[in-house]
Amino acid sequence: MTSPHQGAPHAPSVPSVIEPQGLEQLFAALLRRNYKLVGPTLRDGTITYEEISSPSDLPAGWTDEQQPGMYRLKTRDDNAVFGYAAGPQSWKRILYPSVLRLWQAHRKGGKVEVTVDKPAEEPRYAFIGVRACELQAIGIQDKVFLHGNYVDPNYQLRREHNFIVAVNCTAPAGTCFCASMDSGPRAKGGYDIALTEVILGTEHYFVATAATKFGTEVLGEVECRPANEKQVTAAEAAINAAAENMGRTIDTTDIRQLLNRNFENPRWETTAARCLACANCTMVCPTCFCHNIEDVSDLTGEVAERWRKWDSCFTTAFSYIHGGSVRYSPAARYRQWLTHKLSTWHDQFGTSGCVGCGRCITWCPVGIDITEEVRAIRDKDHSREEV
């Protein structure tokens, strides 16, 4: 998967080494090209992706502790700028805004004039610090919004000029399981430049590769030197250590069939007793794409607007058809979400809908853990014996 504007990606370039000061040059090279930089920064006691302008905005020396239903900001004993795991919300918030007006209509002299909303300026976002799990998620949303029968013009507009600086993960959280989902911690593609942050004693550097022509051009404006074998090995070791330190795992063996034959598993009810149907898991999920379309009219009846808002399969209105809601019980809603993510997503889009970022586990206000749910369903997989 690649950013749409660069054509076919090339094989990652020979790794080079950038000093921490080199990030200044990287940011400057992107700012010169009129990109808005979006990257990790401290906000409201979390590390979130916001508009940033300089490497000093990065969360140097900060990390996070994550467990089901719990996130805490912590200090690190080094000065790593990318030493944290997935934050409260993904890049989805930028590429697929949560609330968006699609068009307006005005009644003028018996006629109706429709104005389609378009941003005043073409959105040009450079994402700094995209993790492998998130690259996978962006690839999945590309499939949903760009590669189906219908193209979403709003998503396309934001993806078209989207520059991606990936960061290979070296600091997985307690709720991470990308290694199980085969989506991380190493960025496999879909980026322009990939960095691996290495801190060894007093040494602090980034091993960088470019995977697109544009990425090579930008990296060319950053002072770097070819990485030696020791530096490449150190970077690889840091990524391998991350893979070994995932807080969680999912056994994905036969998972589609497992879930397909367990629609009546008692676990759905057990979990529904805990599930708040609050929709947090779907809001923070980097692949969830469901939205609602709201038509509004004003008091005069002269103006009408159409809005797109994030929606969730956890609301009753989501499955409301003539006669009522199809998934009235929270058990049915939880089952729909989990089986879509891990099973029927394959049927629909040819991939898993889960990338193992762990956000649904951390940000569930009562700590429901998708990995534990799959384990429990596997444990009570009585239907297998009957078959």
Binding site: G69, Y71, A273, L276, N280, M283, D298, T300
Partner: protein, 260 residues
Amino acid sequence: MKKGNKPRVAVWKFASCDGCQLSLLDCEDELLAVAGAVDIAYFPEASSAMGKGPYDISLVEGSITTPHDAERIQQVRRVSGLLITIGACATAGGIQALRNFADVKAYTSIVYATPEYIQTLRKSTPINDHVFVDYELHGCPINKNQLVEIISATVTGRKPNIPPHAVCIECKQRGLPCIAVSQGIPCMGPVTHAGCNALCPAYNRGCFGCYGPMESANPDSLSAWWVGKLKVHRQDVMRAYRTFNAYADQFRKQSEAHEK
């Protein structure tokens, strides 16, 4: 609504603080548009002109707390086309429904010099306990944008966009990180009806539940988490559910379950 004629609107007050009907006057920018779209025929809070019924739309604020009001709401229903209740008092009994958990006679004897003059019901009850309600607008107070939305929708004859899901969706739509998760703040957002646009979480405060229970609220689970993980005292769980929407069914059960 008959085409060409502006719908006639009445605003009624029962036991309440007037805050919700004031949100109509608080519409400011939209007030003239509201006045242009509907004929406000009866609104004692705003005008001494009192047009006779029947009315196409009645906005009803307040709860039923006296025998007189229990009769009056029947009369309001008879003269109203659509009856829309506004605010926590009208939809759940309001803060005055705290009496429902106590002995109101004992209170009146302490508060009033001559309690025998006081005619009051044992309980403060929502309007839909007494008459059929066409639409409920939640909140303490209601959100003026939702009020304008329900009037616009009614005038146009379309469905109002007033989702009954949790505050959490509004919170995430605003891009706010969950303060319950990131700081361990007990927040009622997951069990509370949306409508305030996640006002309190935006100011680093847990949701107070002003909009009452969301569509499929599961306060049992949230309380178990508060007590077990956030170390909230059972008494404080009881207090959290015993505010403006104390008598809303799911909140009432939750506070009663944590009384001891």
